[in-house]
Symmetry: C2
């Protein structure tokens, strides 16, 4: 079932290109045009079957029914402002960025039919070379409408993600950013700091623990600097909560308090079990 | 090639039982007796083919040629003192604990033929139910002799691990503990604290990042409390180094300093790449 006629994906990286692949495989759009800052990426996306056409300018959105903004957080805003005057009135615009409050409030001023989306399908990998089919299937997609969001537009966007196999969670942009600060942005901040504190010469004596704990510290520096900056207040709150926890563990260790250590570690065990 | 006649494994958990399995598969010992605090574990290890006999008391070490201490860190010391008066003079004793300084210095006083070993093959799983063949193959095993260690004993222990497929690294117990504090104990402390700081109600909105970063927070609370306590000075040093890194990242965020954020994240990217 075609949900949209012409779709344009701006940013044919891992998420953008994988989205194109699934939209085509599931016949949800009639045709997809892709754009990338580096045209070679868009060409590779076309070669991989993720898009039908490569566009060279943002004018490609002129007759689009759906525009997907799949660039890093700061470019999402920049591009949204540029395309606001070009798109048709009824064109639906979505993004796939990791933070929502700033993006949604700023873009909704210029594009009423914009709906913020955040598929929890990213990884530390990036780029069209890492595209993969089916990454949205059985995955969570958070959609962040506002009170002003048109109900029909929201249900069409929800349907799109459901057809891709995603489980939809509706949250306000504010709540999204408060929660994801804990479940995604904090772990990244921790992983970047952890690998930073291990002396280079010791890295060869690591087991699986350090590797897992720091896997996401391979995530793109520019993309994540922007995520951090666009959700800084929430992340600072999380960092404080984490620092407090760490201080308690440190205190238990300083005082050789095994009872307290056991309490901290057992509680962590129980909570980790819920994560599956 | 049989390296030892009678071997006794004390502690038939994941590492102890997996070791039994490989020692038998590679015909490195003639027979293996297993002991566990819970006899049902030793019986399960026998059923799984990891040991030949289940012993009910430490007297089983009387005629052993090799004793492997594979219990949590604090029990290793306790058991070593108990068997010191029971073993033959030429019996070689090794352990597989995560910290070495305390264990090696204390045990060497009562068992001269004791050699500390640390195969980097553990995981957050535990128990004989999770035993697996081949986990020592292509894995690092750190051996921590002292100046007093008999050369022949050391080469026999090294040969044993090499025959299991491990890559041997020789370190002093002190250096082992200083390095592993960074590459293993610190990541555990961080993971326990990280999962502790995420509110329960947010856990359902986690992606792969939080899961990976906190995987090792499922590690056994008692075992890790003991690891922390037995290497506390080194771990406290690491925690301080980590806290400093985290504070710098926090400062960059507070000051909206993208240049500093990029510097921290790019350096993390580069270092993580070395980890493979």
């Amino acid at each position: 079932m075609k949900l949209f006629n012409k779709a344009v994906i701006i940013g044919t990286g891992l998420i953008g290109a994988s989205l194109g692949l699934d939209l085509k495989k599931r016949h949800l759009v009639s045709q997809i045009t892709g754009l990338s800052r580096h045209q070679s990426n868009a060409r590779l996306a076309k070669k991989s079957g993720a898009i039908d056409y490569v566009a060279s300018s943002l004018d490609a959105v002129n007759d689009a029914d759906l525009v997907i903004l799949a660039t890093p957080v700061n470019s999402i805003l920049e591009i949204a402002f540029k395309i606001a005057g070009k798109i048709k009135k009824e064109c639906i615009v979505i993004d796939v960025g990791s933070t929502k409050q700033q993006i949604v409030s700023k873009i909704n001023r210029v594009i009423p039919n914009f709906v913020g989306c955040h598929p929890l399908s990213g990884s530390e990998k990036r780029g069209v070379a890492n595209l993969a089919a089916g990454i949205f299937n059985n995955s969570i997609c958070i959609i962040t409408p506002t009170v002003k969001t048109d109900k029909k537009v929201l249900s069409k966007v929800s349907l799109l993600w459901r057809k891709l196999g995603s489980k939809i969670i509706i949250l306000s942009p504010e709540k999204h950013d408060r929660i994801l600060a804990f479940t995604s942005h904090l772990p990244h901040a921790v992983a970047f700091s952890l690998i930073g504190s291990v002396p280079d010469k010791f890295l060869s004596l690591s087991s699986g623990g350090l590797k897992d704990t720091t896997r996401i510290s391979a995530s793109d520096a520019n993309l994540w600097s922007e995520v951090f900056l666009s959700n800084r207040r929430n992340i600072l709150t999380c960092l404080l909560a984490f620092q407090t926890r760490l201080s308690v563990l440190k205190l238990a260790l300083e005082r050789k308090n095994k009872k307290l250590l056991m309490k901290i570690l057992s509680a962590a065990n129980k909570k980790r079990e819920k994560l599956g």
